[in-house]
Symmetry: C2
Subunit: 162 residues, 2 copies
DNA sequence: CCGCACCTTTACGTAAACGTCAACTTCTGG
DNA sequence: CCAGAAGTTGACGTTTACGTAAAGGTGCGG
């Protein structure tokens, strides 16, 4: 046997590790974003490693990308569909059927890429603007420093090298 | 005189041009994000070109970057501070004072750059993941197409060139 | 088998970001 | 000068994304 000790964790531990509140995790479950790998005999939620990765992804999409939970739901649905596709894929009868599944997956991934790419492009445009402004300020500072150096040299005024 | 015809617009026109609702614009005003350039004799809001640019920026920060209005407030406060700095700058007595103002501006711009850059980096990481997945799918498709071509050639089966 | 921390569901509370009347006032073309 | 379109200030409604309190079950070291 492959040495499997799945290491299931309860919600609190998961929340601390991922950086979410337990409430948020339950909320995401309510919204259909994930289902814990298992439940204990009582009915406590038990999460495995893939659940944790998924939660990390959710957190990233929320905090970094600023996507709404609705957006995230759609993005993950695509990913999930892809995962299920892989299963269906292995059981598909012939190459023709497999090709169809793969092409569907491609379309979904392309949609994700489009969304992310667009967001990045627009952010980069903003960043470029800001960077240009920065350059102008730096130029200004250089000029002022030169001006000051000139004045001080000529006046021999006291410079305190802080 | 320089031929100034400021061309002030009312809220509806502005909303349509920028892609926001009139309510949203009034809301941003309520939140202190902008003040219309003027008011008519009655008390209708009148916006000039710089207001429109500002609203465009706000929309970009909201839609593209996913920043909250609170975040945007802070970012624009920085920009505003910078603008006021320019005025103060022109009236500053000497180069030393000017240098101080410019350096303050630099710090603020750098903060903005940091925020935007961080967001872009994390988005790019996600995009890279997705792109890698896409590549794997494309490879799979190629393989399947080759497989299918082989089968069809050998069987001489009917291909319908849709 | 007991206490205590942790978990469960249920349900109401809330801040943010607007949407949507309502009751007027203001412009503007004819 | 007057009708209809557009604007103004309230003020309450709505959705999203959780927070928080209530009223119990669960799990485990001692």
């Amino acid at each position: 046997m492959t040495d499997e000790t799945p290491r299931l964790r309860r919600i609190r531990e998961v929340a601390d590790e991922v950086g979410l509140t337990t409430r948020a995790i339950r909320y995401y479950e309510e919204m259909g974003l994930l289902t814990p790998a298992a439940r204990s005999d009582g009915s406590q939620r038990l999460y495995d490693e893939s659940d944790i990765e998924r939660l990390r992804a959710i957190r990233g999409l929320r905090d970094d990308a600023g996507f709404s939970v609705a957006d995230i739901t759609r993005l993950l649905e695509d990913t999930d569909h892809l995962a299920r596709s892989r299963t269906a894929f292995r059981q598909a009868e012939g190459p023709a059927e497999r090709l169809g599944i793969a092409r569907g997956g491609l379309a979904r991934v392309d949609r994700q890429i489009g969304l992310l790419g667009g967001k990045i492009d627009r952010l980069r445009a903003m960043l470029d603007d800001t960077t240009a402004r920065r350059a102008r300020i730096v130029a200004l500072i250089d000029q002022l420093e030169a001006e000051l150096a000139g004045l001080e040299t000529r006046a021999g005024s006291g410079i305190v090298p802080a």
